[in-house]
Symmetry: C2
Subunit: 286 residues, 2 copies
């Protein structure tokens, strides 16, 4: 019988550490600040925004929201985003995506400077993910999954990690982060033949395919660490992961729940990134 590993203790530990660092900065006259840029009023953006603000407060990081109308023109949006980026009191910027369709992401992805781009929008940070270069900011979700693996002492070096999903927000950066820790990494996806054979060799299985309860016991190797990155909403409005937890917990060694798993660690990673950005923006301050 596997152990359910929750996100909360991981998030709490990060929060405590980040709060200490924030207070040192504040004592030196630097107030770490996150700016959230939201276009429109999407329900999931609003929910994440509330959670993020709460986390920043717990971490002694100040936060501000710039809420823009969903019908803003690209030109006006660019002007607003540039102003946020040029604001010296802002250390990290989180821009919610997807953006409304009148705004072309290709035209705006360079506006947030790499040092303030804490959720990996700027191609300079994307390149650093592939390079395994630690001065950048990988997206918060795969970083949160890595924090969970680290907190629960899951050995990665030399072992087989299988990532199901190849998105730019989770699957691909997750693969690169695991590779950097010297795991042997397999990326599989909807086109993979004999998927169960592939996932069943995973010592560490990361599910990020966006299909409710997709991963069953047959996909899982005895004793594997199973990290569920999926956030799906079923017909009854209930939040489900990509992993059928009750079916998999018998075989898994460790398994994260949804909700209460990876999702509850992302805002703590966001806070950690703000502090890192704040230090980069104030080089010489230690």
């Amino acid at each position: 019988m596997g152990i359910l590993i929750k996100g909360k203790p991981v998030a709490d530990a990060i929060t405590e550490e980040v709060k200490k660092e924030a207070e040192v900065l504040i004592q030196r006259g630097i107030v770490p600040k996150l700016k959230i840029v939201r276009v429109g009023e999407r329900e999931d953006d609003l929910a994440y925004e509330r959670a993020a603000i709460k986390r920043m407060t717990a971490c002694s990081i100040s936060s501000e929201v710039l809420a823009l109308p969903s019908d803003i023109s690209q030109a006006d949006f660019i002007e607003q985003l540039k102003n946020v980026n040029n604001d010296d009191t802002v250390h990290g910027i989180l821009l919610f995506r997807p953006l409304p369709k009148q705004i072309n992401e290709n035209d705006i992805k360079f506006i947030i400077s790499p040092e303030k781009d804490i959720d990996c929008l700027n191609p300079i940070n994307v390149a650093k993910v592939l390079e395994g270069e630690e001065t950048g900011f990988p997206p918060c979700t795969p970083s949160a999954a890595m924090e969970i693996l680290k907190y629960y002492n899951v050995e990665l070096k030399g072992r087989e990690a299988v990532v199901l999903g190849r998105s730019m927000v989770v699957g691909k950066p997750m693969s690169m982060l695991l590779l950097k820790e010297n795991a042997t990494v397999t990326i599989c996806h909807s086109r993979t033949n004999n998927l169960e054979d592939v996932t069943r060799k995973a010592d560490i299985l990361i599910a990020a395919i966006g299909k409710s309860n997709f991963i069953k016991g047959d996909h899982v190797k005895e004793g594997a660490a199973v990290i569920d990155v999926g956030i799906n909403v079923d017909e009854e409005g209930k939040i489900t992961g990509d992993v059928n937890t009750s079916d998999c917990i018998e075989k898994a060694g460790l398994i994260t729940p949804v909700p209460g798993g990876v999702g509850s660690v992302t805002t703590a990673v966001l806070a950690k990134h703000v502090i890192k950005a704040c230090k980069i923006n104030n080089r010489g301050v230690r």
Copy 2:
């Protein structure tokens, strides 16, 4: 008994196609041009340079070499590289690396604009590799390996590809190119446990680890396509690959030789990239 698949017919086919495209451009008054920037006189740079110039000539692409002294200062180097980049008659730029140690690659990697950066130095092209975005230029060597797989009709979709090595010039971009073709991709390396078990499940095995004759028959699955990207020089000065070809050919379905395999296709890919860059630089010309 496997079939030895050589690079030459692949390179010839690409050359023929590229030459046609070059001639269309020339008829419209645009002369495609490659500029090679070389610092110092490293023997392998000189050998590649000769091969590249020969290929460009065969493709009706003009080429020029800017040879700089190995003790050039970073400031002087930057000025020279900027001039090359600003030259409107130059469509693609190949800068040999590694650079001498007084030049910091981080300080110069943005100088070549992404549209002229045909061997993936600029982070904007690096990011496109991770994104699977086809408007960029992946490094020539993994692209050459992909051309070989395509030419010899190796099915990739859904099948297991294993890449041995995780460098930025081969392993990582190779993995992303295979993923884009819907292969299931495993990246393994020197820290991988039970390497033979991992490589032996590969329908397509890419060796790019830089160890002479490292891959033996025991690493190879019956009928696999084995692509040897290694170029090593043994004690007698003989060029060897990462694959012990004579040991593997019994089990492999298809196998590339070294020399005469991937290495003989890279300059053809370089020519293809120059034409692509030329078209991007002259948008509207078809």
